[in-house]
């Protein structure tokens, strides 16, 4: 049987495709590459690479230890490159996240709460970041997380810098 080779991307090695216009504007396709975006980001910047009204997907460069954040709803972290430790904390006071919060809010220091556990993730691993909990990322070496969430405090939109024009 033929042996196939599956190609993934990484911060160190990625190759972009692109939009070839026939009768259109390439900006309509909002075309970017997660690894390219993360390679130019500061650690834990939440850079939107997709947006569908209030919903976003964010490319996050994981490097060192992030701040603690608490979401107003479930979020999902998909590791695209590297190894990322995800620490979860059940908040003693969930009301630090105002009702109706979209996306997540940054918390000062380590929040008061009970440790829920730790998930050590590698490429392809998806972790639930549950509402009512806070989370913190840690990566010894640069990695990339793709976050499924809602645009909120901390979401960065710089489409003109990241997209094909």
């Amino acid at each position: 049987m033929r042996q196939y080779f599956t190609r993934f991307g990484s911060l160190e090695r990625y190759e972009k495709g692109g939009v070839e216009v026939i009768n259109d504007d390439p900006k309509n396709y909002v075309f970017s590459n997660i690894f390219e975006v993360a390679s130019k980001s500061k650690p834990y910047e939440k850079v939107a690479v997709g947006k569908n009204l209030e919903y976003v997907i964010e490319a996050i460069r994981a490097e060192g230890t992030s701040e603690w954040r608490a979401p107003g709803h479930d979020e999902f972290a998909l590791v695209m490159d590297g190894e990322v430790e995800i620490r979860l904390m059940k908040l003693d006071n969930p009301s630090v996240v105002p009702p109706g919060t979209q996306g997540s809010i940054a918390l000062k220091g380590t929040p008061a709460g009970r440790k829920m556990g730790v998930v050590r993730t590698r490429r392809g691993h998806m972790t639930l970041l549950p509402v009512g909990a806070a989370y913190q990322f840690h990566a010894n070496r640069p990695g990339v997380v793709l976050l499924q969430t809602i645009a909120g405090n901390g979401t960065i939109e710089r489409w003109g810098d990241i997209c094909q024009k």
């Binding site: 196939y4 396709y29 998806m126």
Partner: protein, 328 residues
């Protein structure tokens, strides 16, 4: 022999090739050894039956999906979420100009029932419409049994996330999902999950790429994670998307592995607009006024990201929302 018709379904007696014929409103469907034949009051059309069955399978499995499911440049369906348009030539500029286009609207359960009966009768034991061409036998020839197991697969629709307690299970050898031949090199390691006592059901993670490597179908988006109306619907792709999907809302693609080429056309006329080549890590939007068809030279992993908000089609068609997601 006179063909008798079951109400809303089709003939009882098969034709000389062993297949039943079907009618839906003023549309009529028949097949022989190689082709599916479609008739409507203003015209007729035929498709290779393998292509027809692959498209029919997706249309049924997806509940007529978001927007338009073009079986080819002539035939297809448009979902109104409660009713479905079955059309011929409606989204083909030349058929429209010639006045040969035709549309009829059906309640969803009716068209679903007729399509399911047609798929069941016309799919032989040797053919799996969900499989890549390299992984299935022939759709052609005279009637040769059924493949009900293949055409009635469970559709994955996670309520929160695959692997979460009470939600869709992970895939494994043990539950009938061996690693696909195209993904034997994909690591199968699971995340190292260390919950504190009492939080075993709340600390949840799984290997999405391993999960996808075990998909036994192609071009079949399935929900794996849910953030309100934001749905991650990854899928594995090989060969050609069996339908041309016309968007009624913006849809996003994230290429997780390998490569897919997209042909993008105007949704209404079929006029070519762009080609989009996607490689690992690439992200692209499909605007709400296009239709697209993908080509995957090697089995690949694609994350389809949908916004399932029910009000979107009306807002976009009324011009209250733009057809592209971001202005910059």
């Amino acid at each position: 022999m006179t063909a008798h018709t079951l109400p809303e379904i089709g003939t009882i007696e098969p034709n000389q090739h062993g297949y039943r014929s079907f009618s839906l409103g003023k549309f009529a469907f028949a097949r022989d050894e190689y082709f599916a034949y479609i008739q409507w009051p203003k015209g007729h059309h035929l498709m290779p039956v393998d292509a027809f069955l692959r498209a029919l399978q997706r249309d049924i499995a997806w509940g007529f999906f978001y927007g338009t499911v073009n079986f080819d440049a002539v035939i297809g369906t448009l979902n109104h979420y409660g009713t479905v348009d079955l059309f011929a030539g409606r989204y083909n500029a030349h058929y429209r100009k010639a006045g040969l286009d035709y549309v009829e609207t059906f309640k969803t359960p009716l068209i679903q029932r007729v399509f399911e009966a047609m798929l069941d009768d016309w799919t032989n034991a040797t053919f799996d419409p969900f499989a890549s061409p390299a992984e299935t036998g022939s759709a052609f020839g005279p009637k040769n049994g059924h493949n009900k197991e293949a055409i009635t697969r469970h559709r994955v629709t996670a309520r929160r996330m695959v692997g979460a307690p009470g939600d869709e299970p992970r895939r494994a050898d043990d539950n009938g999902f061996p690693v696909n031949r195209g993904f034997v090199d994909v690591p199968q390691d699971e995340p190292d999950v260390k919950p504190e006592p009492g939080f075993e059901d709340e600390v949840v993670a799984f290997n999405l790429l391993a999960y996808l490597s075990r998909s036994d179908v192609t071009w079949n988006p399935s929900v794996v994670s849910v953030c309100k109306n934001s749905l991650y619907c990854p899928t594995t792709e090989e060969y050609i998307l069996p339908i041309i999907h016309g968007n009624d809302r913006v849809e996003w693609f994230v290429q997780l592995s390998d490569e897919i080429h997209w042909e993008v056309e105007d949704r209404e006329t079929g006029a070519a607009r762009a080609r989009v080549t996607m490689k690992p890590g690439d992200v692209a939007a499909m605007p709400a006024d296009i239709r697209h068809r993908g080509f995957a030279p090697k089995r690949s992993m694609l994350l389809v990201w949908e916004n399932a908000s029910p009000e979107l089609p009306a807002l976009i068609s009324q011009g209250k929302l733009p057809t592209n997601p971001v202005q910059f």
